[in-house]
């Protein structure tokens, strides 16, 4: 109920209309207070929904891969043969294919992404040319992976094939090397834009301090900018890796899709994601399906760990 004390002091001694108006206002305020509580609760529920969603994903994956875990045990991960027809399931070829293609892609992309980061962050933060570069790099990330796959298949694979024949490798074209190239392009923007924003965060007064001591531009980059941002750059690379590991469509389209252990980086192969994409709808036996889901579970866990580590590093960096 509205009491006199809820009214502004100067109203208490004024006209009845003013008091009435003030009381009305006070009653409004009480209604507001109730709405406020409801609103706060709704927000918390939304927070809870997200948590439940993630737990649900984890639980689903675990439950669905239980048959395979029970049937195949841990050695599933390093068994080398995958032959659903014979009911033999070994994940090693896919793990190896995933690791090879992702790390190769990472190694190819790092110089480019760091160069972009330094160019945009340090040399030319403003102007139309850097703006163009920045937007282009960001658009690289926007292109759907299926288009990369298609383009890779139609354009890149023939090129790789002729490259392979020129160095005397079996000219397959499709394979781990092609998928690494595609992946490398796809992940440049992640490390680059993160690196750029990290370099932007380097306080200009630190750089000025170094210039003030007579340093050259490169010395400022080497001694101030890079040390300051190294953890951020590392996080960017980790996040790129996470992307590369989980990337499905582009890889599926150019990796060749064989379940054999890749003999070299030019050989065809399969990654965990691509094998799921290829075989999930064909998996007719429970263990087969479950083995695929177990691959999904491994992929899930690996990418989650890598992403969380990357995020932690970024958080610590930006909060400093």
């Amino acid at each position: 109920m509205v009491t006199r004390s809820d009214l502004p002091l100067r109203v208490i001694n004024s006209t009845p209309e003013a008091i009435l108006k003030a009381k009305k206002r006070a009653r409004r305020s009480f209604r507001q207070i109730r709405t406020e509580n409801v609103f706060k609760r709704t927000l918390s529920i939304m927070g809870l929904v997200i948590i439940i969603l993630v737990l649900g994903i984890l639980l689903t994956l675990v439950v669905q891969s239980l048959p395979s875990i029970k049937a195949l045990g841990l050695k599933y991960l390093w068994s080398k043969v995958w032959d659903p027809v014979q009911d033999i399931y070994g994940a090693w070829p896919f793990l190896l294919g995933t690791l090879l293609s992702s790390f190769l892609a990472l190694i190819i992309s790092i110089p480019f992404s760091i160069a972009v980061a330094i160019f945009l962050g340090e040399y030319h933060p403003k102007g139309w040319l850097p703006n163009f570069l920045k937007n282009t790099v960001e658009l690289i990330a926007a292109v759907p992976s299926v288009i990369y796959g298609f383009w890779g298949l139609a354009v890149l694979v023939p090129i790789v094939r002729s490259f392979e024949s020129s160095i005397g490798v079996e000219p397959v074209g499709v394979g781990i090397f092609s998928s690494s190239l595609i992946l490398a392009v796809m992940i440049i923007p992640y490390a680059a834009s993160l690196g750029r924003s990290m370099i932007h965060l380097v306080p200009s007064h630190l750089k000025e301090a170094a210039y003030g001591l007579g340093a050259t531009r490169w010395e400022v980059i080497r001694s101030v900018v890079l040390p300051y941002t190294k953890s951020g750059l590392f996080a960017g690379i980790l996040l790129s890796l996470g992307r590369a590991l989980g990337e499905t469509m582009a890889v599926t389209m150019v990796i060749g899709n064989t379940s054999l252990i890749p003999k070299s980086i030019f050989a065809p192969g399969n990654t965990m994601a691509s094998v799921i994409a290829n075989e999930f709808t064909e998996a007719d036996k429970p263990v087969y399906l479950s083995a695929l889901i177990e691959l999904g579970l491994v992929l899930f866990l690996v990418t989650v760990v890598i992403n969380l580590i990357g995020k932690k590093i970024i958080d610590r960096f930006t909060n400093e």
Partner: protein, 282 residues
Amino acid sequence: MQPSHVKYRLGKSYGFQILTYILAFACVVPLIAILFFIIKAGVTKINWHFLVNIPKPVGETGGGIANALVGSILIILVASVIAIPIGIMAGVYLSENRKSRLAYWCRLSTDILQGVPSIVIGIVAYFWLVKPFGKFSALSGSAALAIMMLPIVIRSTEETLKLLPDSLKEAALALGMPFHRVIFKVIIPVGVSGILSGVMLSIARITGETAPLLFTAFGNPYLSTKLTQPMQSLPLLIFNYATSPYNEWHDLAWGASLILLVWVLFLNIFTKIVTRKWKVQL
């Protein structure tokens, strides 16, 4: 210290600068190449007929991608309707409760969700919405895409609101405003451009997603608008037709790729322009 020493240091500095320039601009090449090829291969395929017809069976030339266009739009719409309100509210929750335990787990969950490979989301959606009902459906595809949208919307909302100075909220609270009004009348309007950019980016992202749809919306050679039925979508169509051995289908895939690419790039660029125009000064 001799001048020659300085000259050497300056030379090193310039050398490094030039190397950086070269490497940085090398990154432009792939995108140009992709754009060039897709446009070259796709632009001749696109005409009115292409947009309003459904694909012809193998062997027949002509045909279009109307089913994929309609399907993509429907699936994305439904996904947005699910994800945007939840995402924004969760984002607001996170930005308002930086320290609470629930917020910690929620934030962690969002981070996890953001890193989950899309194929895994597809698997999960399959078990949640396809297997229990015994059939592939557009709705399950929407749900999978909605899950993919959520972390982007949540994060961009939270980050935008976190960027708003505390003083803004305090100014409103000090005027005796109740919490929900502070959020709706001050915080969200000021942060609208950031939130909006997150929403648009998330839409751009799911437009090109294929993997989660493989086992959910599945694809459909015919035009369907029933959410409970399998439905075609652009990326699915490109994947299926691109990996097929038929040249006519390849042509369809090129055309579809161009449309998808233009749409996605348009969304990205539009977002950038719009958010720049609406950029509020803080």
